[in-house]
Amino acid sequence: MTNVRLLLRYNQSLLLAILLFLGLYGTYVELQPRGYDAFIANSNVNQGFGIAMVSMAQTVPVLTGGLDLSVGAVMTMVDCLASVVLNGSPLQLAWGLFVCLAAGLGCGLVNGCIVVYGRIQPIIATLATGAIFMGFALVLRPSPGGTVSGALSNVLTYELGDALPAALHARLFNYIPMEFVLLILVVVVVWLPFRRSVIGRGCYAAGSSENAAYVSGVNVSASKLSAYAMAGLLSAIGGIFLGLQTQSGEANLVQSGLLTLNSIAAVVIGGTSLVGGVGGCVGSIFGAYILTTINAMLQVTNTILWVIPASPLIQPLFEGVVVLFAVSAGAARVFWVRNRLELLR
């Protein structure tokens, strides 16, 4: 098999996710009643940015064969933290950003230590720590409020053209959403180097076969610890942007749960296997935007599947069904595994 064909085959889930996204987004653009413009593109990107970040966060622990049920809580907590510290002069803003990222990283490290050194199952461990982080969020913001720097928000949540000083301006930049640029920045600066590092590759190894990885001399503990730390860091970035977009902080339990659930669905849609060893953050980003595009489509059509009338009331049900189907995608395995004993392992 030629190397090109090999490349295609090994990335087929990612390519499928990209195609699905393009197809859906294209349909969405078609459905726009008043035509498509940069403003809509910008709000689309912003709508999905938070979920994209939390999905990237979820991806890394899943690669090691685990799961992090606290990503939504960390994101919410950092949102509340941002509503407290992310204000004032540029120096204060820089400090605020640092505090928020450090908080997320700290949460991630706590998760990692409990899973690696405590040797506790990730699902139950992160279910518990998620409650603790949510508790912290409630302590920071017992009721919705606070402020997040409007100036920073203006810079980071509109088009690229608005963010750059006049000297670097180009007409093209008026059409590129800033958060799109930031998304690419996060992938290039955070994800790709991690993936190419020995510790990052160790995450894939741990997910592929933890025993074999250990026997081969891979530092499985370090990789798993870093996986949960990354999850915390990426959730924190999502939390910062949630704060910037809403310009306030809210410790919303329901929203936190939805974020976690959507992150899992996006990870699965994006081609990362829930048993670990295969996948990546880029696929999860597409998975996240597929989810938000589907929901956005609901807002611009009148009917779902030409039969069911679309209304705001049906939105939560629709979202729930989509998520249920997405996570059940892994069930396809049941249909082609021919030795039933293997399913029980």
Binding site: A205, S208, S209, A212, V215, G217, N339
Partner: protein, 521 residues
Amino acid sequence: MTVPDGTAGPIGRPVLWEAHGITKRYGGVVALENVDFACSAGTIHAIVGENGAGKSTLVKIMAGVVRPDAGEIWLEGRPATFTGPAAAAAAGMSCVFQELSLLPHLSVADNIFITNPPRRWGLINVTAQRREAESLLAKLGWPDINPRLKIRDLSLSRRQIVEIAKMMARRPKILILDEATSALAAEDVSKVFELLLRLRDEGMTIVYISHRLNEVDRLADLYSVFRNGHHVDTFAKGTRTHHQIVQLMIGRHVERLFPPRPGYVAGGPPGLQIRNLNWPPRLANISLAVGCGEIVGLGGLDGQGQRELLLGLFGVLRQLRGAVEIGGQPRRIGSPAQAKSSNNRMALIPEDRKTEGLVLSLPVFENISLSSLRDLTTGVWIDRKKEANRVDAIVRRLQIKVGNVGAPVGTLSGGNQQKVVLAKWLLTDPRVVLLNDPTRGIDIGTKQEIYQLLRNLADEGAAILFYSTDYDELIGCCDRVLILYEGRIARELTGSDITETNIVAASLNVHSPLPAAVAGE
């Protein structure tokens, strides 16, 4: 046999690695007892012994995967304690195990350089890694393996080669191979042997573990025999005959007693009849019949479809094609529950008793009654008195050595654990009994009890089909032996035709009788 450090070993080479007084226990089982061992540079040192002799444990200690309970180890004259496989690898110990240590979802190149890849700016240099993998594989003699391929896309034979390449990439001081050639295709075996001989000539220390004496003969300069956790003897090539070596491996000359075979006389419909059983790629058109009261054995090399045949008969495989008849009646068996049902009354003693036959943390009596709970209920409740009586009766009949039937079954010895599995199935009063290598890893005494049990079952009219990797068992127990090769029946042996020579020949799919030396006699 101790070899003082620094001086020359039995054949005049400097000693590289040695150990004194190594002891290792797993729970109540002694894997190694006060073992001394040494290997020298520029030699191929073979370790031979039966299953459970302690070879694998010694190797795991050498590779740093396991720590000994007692004893000292020296590497190049200096004391060495390894905290884990990474430390051992860094010190120059490289081990190729039976269970491969490859990561199925990663590429060949990634696997070869999993711990020490070429780097650029702190990150893995993927192109350099690929190029180095290519050149390494070419140098070893396999230029056709594409380093971009994921391990899961390679055949078992190729995977073994990648495993060897991975070890070579670490420039080891000592290379250990534990049954490393078991999965290899014939031409690859020759290449590996050439490689090993070449490395030896270059001064590498090689430790080679195998139970195939003919292979070992082609390679080894030095032999060490292990038996029941003890290091029994070490000698140079050519100083012992095969017969003597086998004697050392077995110990006292134990006549393995098999219950007499009455000679099966066919009568009535067969207990089990299979026509054209198909399950690509593992099973191809298998047809056979087992009469009531007959013991039929399955032989052949590992992985020729024996496991799939038994699992398929028991309802575990999907899309199985072909016809199955029990007691003359055609039957569809779609699950083990159906196989066990009173219409079919089949039983399967599975391959791995720890993960497939028993629930280790549950008490002995709960394991024994697991398949027959329906019979022990009055209404909805379990009749505990009835259960206790049944369990006691079967424990006594099978002579299961257990102090307290409420203890977790994981605390029993291997032989007794297997007896619990048998007890469980005997309580279902089966008509057809399938067994997948039932005496693997079990002591001689229990083995004999199991043989007697099978003969009794057959005498009571059950049809028995069992797969064994032990030639003596096939010869001693079975009325007929079917050798499988690549999913089909290569040969059927009956009566006096069941000999080791014929079995080995048929297993290798060779049609003319082999010279006795190769067959291991």
